[in-house]
């Protein structure tokens, strides 16, 4: 039975598989990032590595809300980012019921959902994140026009 970190991004409840997270940091100085596409709100240094701070809500197509003081660092071979989220709720167990939604409910591209005490959460992983980032980067103005 694996676990996930439960987050809020915009109005959405998101679970992130624990094994793909780096750590959670608090009260870091976020600096400006040159050539930042939308959703990239700055850069932060975590354990000697420079990571972009990315607003998860924007990445998921949500309206961003107030950020938590904590940044969720995702560190995987494919990508390393610090996510600015609405809130970090804590751990939750991924039940076997993490299933793809059937029918029209699956309109928005997250395959697996699972119930939590706070509501139904969408499971997010590095691959999904990377895909969103790819889209985001592809849509950036400098890429589109150059």
């Amino acid at each position: 039975m694996s676990q996930a970190l439960l987050l809020s991004a915009g109005r959405r409840l998101v679970g992130f598989e624990l094994g793909q997270l780096g750590e959670i940091v608090q009260d870091r100085r976020v600096q400006a990032l040159p050539m930042a596409p939308p959703g990239f709100i700055g850069a932060v240094s975590v354990q000697g590595e420079v990571l972009p701070v990315i607003e998860l809500a924007t990445l998921l197509g949500e309206q961003p809300t107030v950020h938590d003081r904590r940044l969720v660092v995702v560190s995987a071979p494919q990508l390393a980012v610090a996510l600015a989220v609405g809130a970090v709720h804590g751990l939750c167990s991924l039940t076997l019921a993490a299933q793809p939604l059937a029918g029209t409910l699956a309109g928005n591209w997250e395959g697996r959902v699972f119930p939590t005490t706070r509501g139904i959460a969408v499971l997010l992983d590095v691959a999904r994140l990377r895909r969103s980032l790819d889209e985001c980067l592809a849509a950036a103005t400098w890429r589109g026009r150059a």
Binding site: A43, W109, R128, W142
Partner: protein, 618 residues
């Protein structure tokens, strides 16, 4: 992963991976030599020893399948050793065996069970059962997918969605028909076609997709060219570097001295004597410098670790293309920072592949040269093929709408050649025919520029092409010019700037194409760096100017202030930061702030879309 692997401490596993990788590299090298001189007994013996060692190590570690395969190869070798020569068929067989061993080692490194593909269980003359294109794929590639319901009738949307989701999770969907959005709109497709890039091997990809496909039938076909990849030696796999015992001893000694120094510092601090403290700190500085240099030198790896597999790649590609190609290597003993070396693999492979596919017509020579030039390393891939036709490139660029005919006419020869490096330009199929060159040059250029280097092209029709990668030798420490822009520091690698100016306000003038600085010898076009970086800042009242080169033209970047030159520890950027154009690294300043390092040329190219750059190319 077998249970046995857990009985040994992880450290042994790392050691095994590193050493086995080296043996496998040696095998590839020796096979190449033996292909040329089948009776080279010395090499044959060396090959035998490598396989033998591999067998022993694998058996000790409990990787039984690997040990078994090595054992069989050893048997084959033993027989030919007695005969005193190695026939070509055996070489092919051994090469296939080596590839499988490599794959198994990769599996072990990734913590996967050793892959099957027992193609070499049979006799010496037998061909491998799996097609070469497949078994030689260690890292997947570009797939074409067709998905249809296994039985006639519609399948629930959730199954489609789940499958597409899995495709996105495992790799990148390059194209998909119907598009995911349409699927989401609850339109049930009868058939789904997709182009999919995935790092997984075809067997594993198939297995994973079948797992989620349910009532859908998935057909998977690999379409990318034979993916013999040029990987850095196994020693680099898993970010591992072999360090000589002497260096380790020196490091231990230095650490010991640092520990002693700490006591000295404590004592000085306790006494409150500023003089003693200063003295201790100076010594500390010296030690730290020494330590830094030692560690840095530990990061330096010879170019040969990646070029030693080049002959193998060239031979397989040449064979596949039906061409006769001779490869010449020189300067491979030059050492490069590990990170650069790793990153240069893909551009180098691209360049070689291009030379084989498009440069050389039926037979010719490819020269890979490495030359050290001050702090940089020039890595050249030169062929004696037909070369590129600048006029054709110009015409193509105009026809594809990249620039106007008048702009094209004004381009310098170098600039015209560089057009092939434009994203989207070289993928046009006709370019290959007309320019004689093309695929993936944008990738080469991007790869090189991400390292903080740059790409140069030299070519004349009929006289071959030379792709020159100018690379920094170390990424770790480099002199950087720090400037202030929008209130935050950014840096330029000193090798990438021409000069700096602090012009009088009177020298600045607004011309019709933007600001210019009227200098004694020229009129220098200016661009606000804050505009390029998209930072909210005003045009500085007392601007400083960093003069950079943009495709042979001088251009001034206006910044708020020059903060000075510094040797800084450059941190390489990972995805997604490495995707931002113009960024070639970052460094942390003494006060903890991050300063991003900018590669001026890429930055300007990317910025030409967002700001009115005085460019003549467009």
């Amino acid at each position: 992963m077998t249970a046995a692997s857990f009985t040994l401490p992880p450290g042994y596993r790392e050691l095994f991976l590193s050493e086995a990788g080296e043996h496998l590299n040696a095998m590839a090298r020796q096979l190449l030599v033996l292909e040329e001189t089948p009776q080279n007994l010395e090499e044959l013996n060396a090959l035998f020893r490598a396989v033998h060692s591999l067998k022993g190590m694998a058996a000790t570690m409990g990787y039984d399948r690997m040990a078994a395969l090595a054992h069989r190869l050893e048997d084959v070798l033993a027989r030919f050793r007695r005969e005193g020569r190695l026939p070509a068929a055996a070489i092919e067989q051994l090469r296939a065996g080596q590839a499988v061993l490599e794959k198994r080692l990769e599996d072990i490194a990734a913590g996967r069970p050793e892959s099957s593909g027992e193609a070499l269980d049979c006799g010496p003359a037998a061909e491998p059962a799996t097609p070469a294109g497949r078994s030689l794929v260690p890292g997947g590639g570009l797939y074409e997918l067709t998905v249809v319901p296994a039985e006639s009738g519609s399948v629930a949307l959730s199954h489609w969605l789940w499958l597409v989701n899995e495709l996105m999770r495992l790799g990148t969907l390059l194209s998909c028909r119907p598009a995911p959005e349409e699927l989401a709109a609850d339109r049930l497709p009868a058939r789904l076609e997709a182009r999919w890039r995935c790092p997984l091997a075809v067997e594993e990809a198939t297995a994973r997709l079948v797992n989620v496909a349910g009532p859908l039938h998935v057909e998977l076909a690999l379409t990318s060219p034979p993916a013999v990849t040029l990987r850095p030696g196994r020693a680099q796999e898993g970010n591992r570097v072999r360090v000589s015992a002497a260096l380790l001893d020196r490091l231990v000694n230095l650490t010991g001295e640092l520990v002693t120094m700490r006591h000295g510092l404590r004592t000085a601090l306790g006494k409150g004597s500023l003089e003693a403290l200063t003295e201790e700190l100076e010594q500390f500085d010296g030690l730290l410098d020494q330590l830094r240099q030692e560690v840095l030198s530990a990061r330096m790896v010879a170019l040969s670790t990646i070029t030693e597999r080049l002959p193998h790649l060239v031979q397989s590609l040449a064979r596949a293309a039906g061409k006769h190609i001779v490869l010449r290597l020189s300067g491979t003993e030059e050492r490069l920072d590990r990170a650069i070396l790793e990153a240069v693999v893909v551009p180098l492979e691209h360049a070689v592949r291009n030379a084989i596919d498009h440069g050389i017509e039926s037979s010719g020579t490819i020269q890979v040269r490495a030359v050290r030039q001050s702090g940089q390393l020039l890595l050249e891939v030169a062929d004696d093929g037909r070369g590129m036709d600048r006029e054709a490139i110009r015409r193509r660029a105009v026809a594809d709408g990249f620039l106007t005919a008048s702009d094209a006419a004004r381009l310098s020869p170098e600039e015209a050649l560089m057009l092939v490096c434009r994203p989207g330009f070289s993928t046009a199929s006709r370019v290959t025919a007309s320019s004689g060159r093309g695929v993936g040059m944008d990738a080469v250029r991007q790869g090189v520029e991400q390292l903080g280097g740059h790409l140069e092209l030299e070519s004349r029709p009929g006289a071959g092409t030379c792709v020159r990668m100018v690379l920094p030798r170390t990424v770790a420490i480099a002199p950087v010019l720090l400037v202030s822009c929008g209130g935050e520091p950014v840096g330029f690698p000193v090798t990438r700037i021409l000069s700096t100016l602090e012009p009088d306000p009177g020298q600045l003038r607004r011309g019709e194409a933007g600001w210019v600085a009227c200098l004694a010898e020229e009129e220098l076009p200016l661009i606000g760096l804050h505009v390029l970086l998209g930072r909210p800042a005003d045009w500085p009242s007392h601007p400083a100017v960093v003069v950079v080169n943009r495709h042979g033209r001088r251009l001034g970047l206006v910044v708020e202030a020059l903060l000075g030159q510094q040797d800084v520890f450059i941190k390489p950027l990972r995805y997604p930061l490495d995707q931002l154009p113009g960024l070639c690294g970052a460094t942390q300043l003494g006060d903890g702030r991050i300063a991003f390092l900018l590669e001026p040329q890429t930055l300007l190219d990317a910025g030409s879309g967002t700001v009115g750059l005085p460019t003549r190319e467009r």
